[in-house]
Amino acid sequence: MLEVRNLSKTFVIHILGGKSIEGFRGVSFRLYPGEFLGLTGRSGSGKSSVLKCIYGTYLPASGEVWFASERLGRVDLARAGEQAVLRVRDGEMGYVSQFLRVIPRIAAADVVAEPLLRAGSEAGAARRQAAALLERLRIPARLHDAYPSTFSGGEQQRINIARAVIRKPRLLLLDEPTASLDRESQETVIGILRELKEKGTSMIGIFHDRAALEAIADNVLELANGSMEHGRP
């Protein structure tokens, strides 16, 4: 599904006189359909940056990101160009960020239904599907019409997850998706991820919580000072 080769990221900060900061370097791995790869490493080791380089939010300094796209065939996302990345993001690749950035003034159910609408679903059906998913994530029906900007951190995070999984992407990038969730919600999220995985979605996830990682990861990749180690969770 995904093959990452020798990926590196360096930030050149001009306002600090061209200072160069290493995000990570030399990251390579393969990810098969339905596989979950956990990324571990101390704070600042570059875990989030790896996900952002795959998603296209960061431009890699070097390396390749080969994605087996259904629509475009095998593409190197590191070089594919903006239109190709946008098309892959539209339905094939999802991303759940560590920090929430909710869209202002849109009801929770609409935030979640939006990817379905973009894919051409009928409005009523999309909203019902969104409501069912929110229900499952324990967001009570009375909140479905409210703006997520007023929600608690944990509620916002679940909105974010719902939005990312509703179209069942083929590749899902997860940056601490359960960080602000209570035990029960965390288990629900893991359950949803497992189901997706069984249907073939490949995932790369960063988890703070060892137990959550062990509950879902098939493999882990440890980032440490540029080197990297494969292993079992």
């Binding site: 930030f11 050149v12 900060i13 001009h14 306002i15 952002k52 296209g56 939010t57 960061y58 431009l59 903006e82 239109q83 990345v85 946008l86 869209i103 202002p104 003034r105 609408l117």
Partner: protein, 279 residues
């Protein structure tokens, strides 16, 4: 997918230039104004594409050339050099550089296929003419002839932009700033444009009014899938509306990319400064 709007090497020099700065204007290192003759690079060698249904953001400090770019695309200014193509969806249509077309043909293309909303509603509306009349004017230019159809379309658009239809015969001069922007949007969309140009449309409005205008634009965009170029110095607006963004400085494009990439991993020194001063 073919781009809807294609721009190559678009250049606008304000001033006649001299041996030092011609043909393209002073080099970016010198800024945008020629030290010898005072010629200013409004837009220098700008190339960009807009794809169907896409929203492209344009950011940059004041004076960086954003509005010049928009006005060149809208044929309000004559370009010094460059090419603009608008793909009308017909595969066999001749590829014509619009900048080489006659003024009449350019006006026709503008009336039929473009819409614009200015920061200052005085530029986009005739303040003493009724709101319905403002829209009718644009429809007439686009080739509409049937008066009752025109009135129906105007009423529909005003309703869609949340202007009470019973105020359609009032001139925009009677309206609040937010309402005037919404009349401008109604007018700009009246001909079902292929490209909608928005130049700082929320700047200067109260925050709550800004939010309402932005929501309207976002909803209309989703509903009509119209391609847009959104100029704003507010990175929040850009993040909300645009998939891709270009950054301008001294009339030049210094950086372009996916909006989240430009905002989270800016590479050019100027973009880094812009982003770090706003986020």
């Amino acid at each position: 997918m073919k781009p809807l709007l294609e721009i190559h090497g678009l250049t606008k020099l304000f001033g006649s230039g001299c041996g030092h700065c011609l043909p393209g204007g002073v080099s970016p290192e010198e800024g945008n104004r020629c030290g010898r003759c005072g010629t200013v690079v409004g837009c220098g060698d700008v190339s960009l594409m807009v794809y169907p249904g896409e929203v492209l953001g344009v950011v940059g400090e004041s004076g960086s050339g954003k509005s010049t770019l928009v006005r060149l695309i809208h044929f309000e200014l004559d370009a010094t050099a460059g090419e603009i193509y608008l793909n009308n969806g017909k595969e066999d249509a001749a590829r014509e550089n619009l900048l080489m077309q006659s003024p009449f043909r350019r006006r026709q293309i503008r009336s039929r296929h473009m819409g614009i909303v200015y920061q200052n509603p005085w530029l986009g509306l005739r303040m003493q003419v009724s709101s319905g009349g403002n829209i009718a004017e644009k429809l007439l230019a686009a080739g509409w002839r049937n008066v009752s159809e025109i009135r129906k379309r105007a009423a529909f658009l005003l309703e869609r932009t949340e202007i009470p239809v019973n105020r359609m015969d009032e001139p925009p001069a009677n309206f609040s700033g937010g309402m005037q922007q919404r009349v401008q949007i109604a007018k700009a969309l009246s001909n079902n444009p292929q490209v909608l140009l928005l130049d700082e449309v929320t700047t200067g409005l109260d925050l709550s009014v800004q939010a309402r205008v932005l929501d309207l634009i976002r909803n209309l965009q989703r509903e009509l899938a119209v391609a847009m170029i959104v100029v704003s110095h507010d990175l929040g607006v850009i993040r909300l509306l645009c998939q891709r963004t270009i950054v301008m400085r001294h009339g030049r494009v210094v950086e372009s990319g996916l909006t989240d990439q430009v905002l989270e991993d800016p590479r050019h020194e100027y973009t880094q400064l812009l982003v770090s001063s706003q986020l």
